[in-house]
Symmetry: D2
Subunit: 276 residues, 4 copies
Amino acid sequence: MCRLFAYSGEPVWLDTLLIEPEASLVSQSMAAREAKTVVNGDGCGLGWYGERERPGLYRDTLPAWSDANLAGLCHQIRSGAFMAHVRSATAGEVSRANCHPFALGRHLFMHNGQIGGYDRLRRRIDSLIPDEFYGHRHGTGDSEAIFLIAAGQGLETDPVWAIDRALRLCLSAMTDMGIADPLRFSAVLMDGETTHAFRWSSDARPPTLYWRALEGGIAFSSEPCSLDASLWTPLAPNSFVRLDSSSMIASRFDPASQNPCETVSGIASEATRSAA
Amino acid sequence: MCRLFAYSGEPVWLDTLLIEPEASLVSQSMAAREAKTVVNGDGCGLGWYGERERPGLYRDTLPAWSDANLAGLCHQIRSGAFMAHVRSATAGEVSRANCHPFALGRHLFMHNGQIGGYDRLRRRIDSLIPDEFYGHRHGTGDSEAIFLIAAGQGLETDPVWAIDRALRLCLSAMTDMGIADPLRFSAVLMDGETTHAFRWSSDARPPTLYWRALEGGIAFSSEPCSLDASLWTPLAPNSFVRLDSSSMIASRFDPASQNPCETVSGIASEATRSAA
Amino acid sequence: MCRLFAYSGEPVWLDTLLIEPEASLVSQSMAAREAKTVVNGDGCGLGWYGERERPGLYRDTLPAWSDANLAGLCHQIRSGAFMAHVRSATAGEVSRANCHPFALGRHLFMHNGQIGGYDRLRRRIDSLIPDEFYGHRHGTGDSEAIFLIAAGQGLETDPVWAIDRALRLCLSAMTDMGIADPLRFSAVLMDGETTHAFRWSSDARPPTLYWRALEGGIAFSSEPCSLDASLWTPLAPNSFVRLDSSSMIASRFDPASQNPCETVSGIASEATRSAA
Amino acid sequence: MCRLFAYSGEPVWLDTLLIEPEASLVSQSMAAREAKTVVNGDGCGLGWYGERERPGLYRDTLPAWSDANLAGLCHQIRSGAFMAHVRSATAGEVSRANCHPFALGRHLFMHNGQIGGYDRLRRRIDSLIPDEFYGHRHGTGDSEAIFLIAAGQGLETDPVWAIDRALRLCLSAMTDMGIADPLRFSAVLMDGETTHAFRWSSDARPPTLYWRALEGGIAFSSEPCSLDASLWTPLAPNSFVRLDSSSMIASRFDPASQNPCETVSGIASEATRSAA
């Protein structure tokens, strides 16, 4: 399992959130506390929004803890919307192309979890990516595939619907092949203005995902990025959060249910107030 | 376009053929003379047969000219059947997984050429790889795809038939999508005992491929690996050569023709005699 | 020989100068026209000034032409002072640490040229780096050594004097060992406010270095970065240029002469007027 | 701290010792049990003797657990004398050149431990390497430095004396600079016929080093490479073992003592009998 971190809010220097905290993402690359695998050393990646529409992207196969480039970029870059990821390879080679985040146009995406039985399903999963987006299939992992399948389901216009549809398509392929293993999905999707964070699994064990209101923004992380874990609030299982500059709304999210996703009014969390 | 080199015969130190000649493959990585691209610096690879059935495999993204590991291996390894490749990326990222040769069981495969319109065809080409072999799809390039499609067509029992079938399937996908660009295919396939070298294109310009009888064996190369180019004989366009310990037979090979491949008696080249 | 590029002036997107021009530095990595070696594929590097004092730094061993990270950074970063380098290894391994630019505090440095007989001189050259700066010796090449020797000679307070002193110390070591090969030095040094560009050699063949006034600033380059080479002006042999926000002054520079460096009034070039 | 493994005896397939055991070196790269650092993911290396005098050498910056090249080589190579290393960087960048083993002529060397205060001592340590061997200084770490200093002290003719002298020179430099931190040294040196394994420290805590008699040879390892740790015998602190085809002799080794090293008869261990 991988570790991920995202931030949206007032521009901050990346190193203040990704490197300096005692339990930062970079330190988690060598010693994650809530991950199945302690080591997340199969590459790292960073995506951030600046003045241009298309985000910046840096990915490499070196472990985050020894990557001087990553440290250099985090020192120099200030951004109000970015995400970073340290990888523990479950599906797909150790290669730059299999490192998160994945970028497509103005979108960035990263994922912690996996498609059960992916090794047996790979051809079917790949065939769910439309020709239009297949040229963006640079790696071989399940996370990039989910992202590109969603791209074909309307990510540009209705991202939650598209992610929901993509996961339903994957579930259907799993059912067809008689896969009993779960589909687990903790993920963050950004477009520079809106952040969506998902926590869901087809079984009862969705990968952890936390959020925390910082001074000028909201952070999401696979595990608390501070020694005092109580500062971080877990997302409810089978839910997603939609964050933009004016509000943060939590909603139910369950691609395994019969009904397509629906925003549930009334459970807007206190995050909205914190972020306001 | 890439550059490739293969050898079968009496065991030799790899550096005597891959590094020491003035126009060796490693020197071609920086200054190929017959290639479309002068530089073949997008990675390199080496596959060789030893005492075990499964061949050894080394691949890296560094250019061959600066790869100390490659030099070290070539100094230390002696083999009677090996192939090496320097890449100029046409399709697929610069990654280890996209470097040639590709290995599957006891087979090694490498390719110079390309599937015309591959960027538009990728999803269709991938779907021609059977589930059984899709787990071996580690990269994203066209060459590995052809190899794995052939694996699904019986590479183990009748390699020429399988390659012929794989190329016909690719041509068919190209026709379906209205691709006018050619499918070009110079390639070498080995299983430790038999070597097949192919030179074919769907248009009139198959990539070059030469052979030469050395003291104890036969070498194949994209271009003459010696300053005196006259020592090297080009394979006839649209033909393949089958080499084993007792003979070397050249045959017609044209997956664009109506008839499936057939061995044409009577054109066995003088190679047979040289190698004998 | 390597290729280098530097810019100082109004902030620009890096890709507009490093990637988009037809004869850009990235294209020079595969096909330099004025370099001894056509290919500069032994790594690349980028250093730039942003809002913080310490510059950002990115270096990798992949050739610039295939480095997606480099392209991503150049798309995203806008800077008013940056330098980039594509390497053809003459001294030192292919490693990140041997890639230019080199960073020390607020300084960035890159170099094209070499210390003659460096292989024999390495120990002596290294010993010219004071203990204080030896901890910053991350690589093994001659360029980083010159930079760190200069650091020990007062780079912080008088950079031209420090570079002059460093080169004199190297020349002296060469003389002691009876080295007849030249010391060649085209280089750029930046501190975020001031840019120094040097073109000098101990023989009559200093590596090329050009400058050009762009719309909002001044660029320096090993060779003209445009198809119309006449837009670029060569620096005079054995001279340096000092550029800051108000002026550009050219002066004589000859560490092989008896006199230490002196600013020669009267040869301030028309650059001053262009940049003004 | 790093982890290391060496073997000398009847030729074996490398994967049977380096990969297949449950507590193999490759598994130790992610989860070492006796190391200060659990993760040894800063590169890996392999050196082995074959038919030629000069050993083969493979090193890369990827963690051993994800390096397909390492696995491929270990499957294919059979050798009667080899060593392998997984690195946790204490001194020197993460680069190929800083990975162990180091090769010089027919010698291979690898090390676990460190020169106390190396960061402050680097220039002095480097200056202990004679010009003759300075050209072989490809990295920046302390281990390679010790090896090259020993090369200058007669490694070729009397390896134990040379290592002893090299460590005394380092100790002396440490004393000169007032370094209180210890010099720790567990290391293996091979020349294709003879293996020397050292376990020493200037304080009371020499890094662990074990040996075990296997069916056809002797293995050395930083920690027991099997679930049953009792099969492995620790080398006595401040001793070395000399192993060749006919005998295995243990002797005292203490470069911090007044007397130069001396072989102490009478403590030849039972290893001699096992190996016989």
